[in-house]
């Protein structure tokens, strides 16, 4: 059957779940309206839309700066104009799974920084915890408001060749990218007039409202207008655009470490009339740099004494400090067990099978099958320092093995996972490219809320499985249908 020129030229990748291309060689129902819409547009028109998207990102300053020979070059995060579409039932599943997982992870953090029942009951080995650089003794017995540690998370999901969702990693520290979820939607509204309402796409604009509501609820002082601030490392941070966007959308003050000062275990900001107490800090500065008195003493980004104020309960910090112990990749292995242990439920979302290289038998198994493995550092992120076995040379593999043997605890291996593919508009035709999904979940005193949508990252290079922006990845608008 003739679907459309764009569809007919499309050739899906073998043994890969295609979000658009159904098993019967037809467009999946939920993609039909979009394919029909673009079929009425010439390649010229679509090229123009691509241009428009670039121009909008540029003129709005949605850019990051690459410093090259002392001169800043503005770049935009590549954006593919064809949306990624998720059906209502897929979303309901994902939503339920993430809520379950986060509930368990939050219990885990409370437990690990208090009684450590999960260790005493032999579910999680203690050496995995104590060897994790993000396990912070400073958090031990520290009471956080409402026992919430993970206020904001961005769990990365991927889909196997049969379409099953897997959790790739839990980002529980300062996950970024949510501004792209919001901005990509704004751009799509401009690119495809009327298409969003026609398709019944759920809105994502509630995100800042929910986040603000949650931050407000955390204020230690019971006053009418608590001071909420967003702490950013400053304009040279690659996510700075996101910090300003969120501060603007919530109407909260954007501060840098140098704007804050601690006096008598209270945090103040320096204003034109003097010091003003700060109640809630949504920080986008990593734990390590937060307080030079407690953590990295050379940090210029933090605030001296802030940890003391936090410990006294005079300021709420979001996300809680020390969350890194829960998204460590060696701890990741135990998350399904945590769900059973704390909730007495079967995990809804699956983990990718993972080998801990600290374990000798598993290491030997992995070393024999390096070509079929992806090896990652347990505390790495951004796609840095990982080895894709199927694409690596023998030399790279043997070098990497040496690295692993220096400290096996810091590495895990996973079988090469097949990411699902979605159509991307490239040089006048649709081509399949690999994608993942990062929904953003917000946890407040009223429970966990997930805005229907998220960030779909896409590996723009043909054949690539790495979606990270630092490694040639881009993004797509992510539609969740009502």
């Amino acid at each position: 059957m003739q679907e459309s020129a764009y569809f007919d030229q499309y050739s899906p990748i073998n043994n890969v779940w295609d979000e658009m291309y159904g098993a019967d060689n037809h467009v999946r129902e939920h993609y039909r309206k979009v394919i029909d819409y673009i079929s009425n547009e010439s390649a010229d028109d679509l090229n123009k839309k691509e241009e428009l998207a670039k121009r909008l990102f540029m003129s709005q300053g949605i850019t990051f700066t690459v410093y090259n020979s002392g001169e800043g070059i503005e770049k935009i995060f590549p954006f593919d104009i064809i949306p990624r579409i998720i059906t209502a039932s897929e979303w309901a599943f994902v939503e339920k799974g993430i809520k379950q997982r986060l509930t368990a992870l939050n219990h885990f953090l409370k437990d690990i920084y208090h009684n450590q029942f999960i260790v005493k009951d032999g579910i999680v080995p203690i050496d995995i915890i104590y060897s994790c650089p993000h396990f912070l003794r400073e958090m031990y017995q520290l009471q956080v408001p409402y026992d919430i540690y993970i206020h904001i998370s961005g769990i990365d999901l991927i889909r196997d060749s049969d379409g099953t969702f897997y959790v790739l990693e839990d980002n529980l520290r300062t996950p970024s990218g949510v501004s792209y979820m919001l901005e990509n939607r704004e751009i799509t509204k401009r690119l495809f007039p009327d298409l969003l309402p026609q398709c019944g796409v759920r809105s994502v604009t509630e995100y800042p409202t929910i986040l603000y509501k949650n931050l407000l609820a955390l204020s230690p002082r019971q006053i009418a207008n608590p001071n909420i601030v967003l702490l950013s490392p400053g304009i040279y941070n690659s996510a700075y655009f996101e910090h300003t966007t969120l501060a603007r959308l919530m109407g909260v003050e954007l501060v840098e470490g140098r704007d804050l000062v601690v006096k008598d275990h209270k945090v103040y900001m320096k204003t034109t009339t003097g010091l003003q107490q700060v109640d809630v800090i949504y920080r986008r500065v990593d734990d390590e740099y937060l307080d030079p008195l407690v953590f990295n003493p050379s940090s210029m980004l933090g605030v001296a004494g802030i940890m003391g104020a936090y410990r006294k309960g005079n300021v709420a910090i979001v996300n809680a400090i020390g969350n890194g112990v829960a998204d460590d990749k060696a701890v990741y292995v135990y998350v399904p067990e945590m769900i059973r242990y704390y909730l007495n439920e079967e995990p809804i979302l699956k983990n990718v099978p993972t080998h801990q290289l600290g374990n000798r038998e598993e290491r030997e198994h992995v070393f024999k099958n390096m070509n079929n493995m992806v090896i990652k550092r347990t505390n790495g992120s951004g796609g840095y320092g990982m080895l894709m076995g199927h694409a690596a040379s023998d030399e790279e593999i043997s070098d990497y093995k040496k690295e692993i043997l220096k400290d096996p605890r810091n590495f895990i291996a996973q079988p090469t996972i097949s990411l699902s593919a979605a159509p991307c508009y490239m040089q006048g035709v649709l081509q399949p490219r690999r994608i993942d999904l990062r929904p953003y979940a917000l946890c407040g005193p009223d429970g966990i809320e997930i805005v229907p949508g998220g960030l779909t990252r896409v590996a723009l290079k043909e054949g690539s499985l790495v979606v990270n922006s630092s490694q040639g990845g881009g993004s797509k608008d992510t539609w969740v249908l009502a």
């Binding site: 540029m58 003129s59 709005q60 300053g61 001169e71 503005e74 919001l182 704004e186 604009t205 800042p208 409202t209 603000y212 207008n225 001071n227 400053g234 304009i235 700075y240 300003t244 501060a247 603007r248 959308l249 919530m250 109407g251 909260v252 003050e253 954007l254 501060v255 840098e256 140098r258 704007d259 000062v261 900001m269 320096k270 204003t271 034109t272 009339t273 003097g274 003003q276």
Partner: protein, 323 residues
């Protein structure tokens, strides 16, 4: 996207934010002054039989070394490049708009999205390599007009979209302080050249260009019927309350916007600065062309300049540094 339901912080402005808004505004104002000066100077360089010198212009607006100035002063294209897209000139339009944008970037949630986009566009326009090429090969006036239009867009956007709060007061103080300093510098340089070359005193095109570059030519024609006289030019640029680039007009506006900070200020800081600004305002207000001539123009301008710098320093101490 940009209508936040939660505005109304009620609180006060961060010192860093106040400082960034003030500098952002000073930089844009400086670029405006420079571009207008460049445009008029370039036009007059095309309209002279003698060799045109850019020396005063370079002296006022750039911090170049003597030998650089010497090399540049008779080469219009080279001056334009140096002053507009010159990377090594810390005061080139490109560099100061980069600073302005960085300041804006760090206070994005205190300026409107429109204003941010407007500055962002100004920045991308100056940075565009096509502009640099056009400056070297095509008509420079068209290029300057494109940039001047960006500044006008900026001022329109501020006027239409910025909330009338503390932030805008700091922006306006920055803008008028910069403008007052510019007018003083221009007068000092232009009148200074007369002592080297007394013929200029009666050179009508010399005064005409000075007025044109300050945008005060038409007003001058309406105010003074007897042609171009140095004293009248001085009167207009220092003392005319209706001339938006006059020193008195700028200082009045510094005073006006500073007064608006009263309710958001520490009283002691406020009184001290209010006194300082009031004193400067009175010194200019109760001067006349005759009294200025008695004191000596250069002495008078030097005093005014140092008082203006003093205001900048006091702001830094009382409102921005805060530590």
């Amino acid at each position: 996207m940009n209508n936040s339901p939660f505005r109304g912080l009620g609180g006060n402005m961060l010192s860093r934010v106040a400082a960034s808004l003030y500098w952002l505004s000073r930089y844009v104002e400086r670029s405006d002054g420079m571009l207008r000066m460049l445009k008029i100077n370039y036009a007059s360089s095309q309209d002279t039989i003698q060799e045109f010198t850019w020396e005063p212009m370079v002296r006022i607006f750039a911090d170049s070394r003597e030998d650089e100035t010497e090399e540049l002063k008779n080469d219009s294209r080279a001056v334009l490049k140096y002053m507009i897209t010159g990377k090594n000139n810390s005061n080139s339009v490109l560099n100061i708009i980069t600073f302005a944008r960085e300041n804006a970037r760090s206070v994005q949630e205190h300026i409107t999205k429109d204003l941010w986009q407007c500055l962002n566009e100004y920045y991308h326009t100056v940075k565009d390599l096509k502009l640099d090429r056009a400056l070297q090969r095509e008509d420079p006036i068209s290029v300057l007009d494109v940039l001047i239009k960006q500044v006008m867009l900026y001022y329109g956007t501020v006027e239409i979209t910025m909330e009338r709060g503390e932030g805008r007061s700091f922006m306006n103080i920055g803008k008028y302080l910069e403008r007052a300093i510019q007018s003083v510098d221009i007068l000092d340089t232009k009148f200074g050249s007369i002592s080297d070359n007394p013929d200029l005193l009666t050179d009508t095109t010399y005064w005409k260009h000075l007025l044109l570059s300050l945008g005060g030519y038409e007003l001058y024609l309406k105010t003074y019927r007897e042609g171009f006289e140095a004293e009248n030019v001085l009167e207009q640029v220092v003392l005319n309350n209706d001339f938006p680039r006059s020193v008195i007009y700028s200082v009045n506006h510094i005073q006006r916007y500073f007064e608006r900070l009263k309710s958001n200020s520490n009283m002691e800081d406020f009184r001290e600065m209010s006194f300082q600004i009031g004193r400067l305002q009175s010194r200019i207000k109760y001067s006349s062309v005759r009294s200025i001539r008695t004191d000596g123009l250069h002495t008078f301008l030097t005093q005014i300049r140092s008082e203006l710098y003093g205001i900048g320093n006091a702001l830094n101490e009382h409102y921005f540094a805060n530590s």
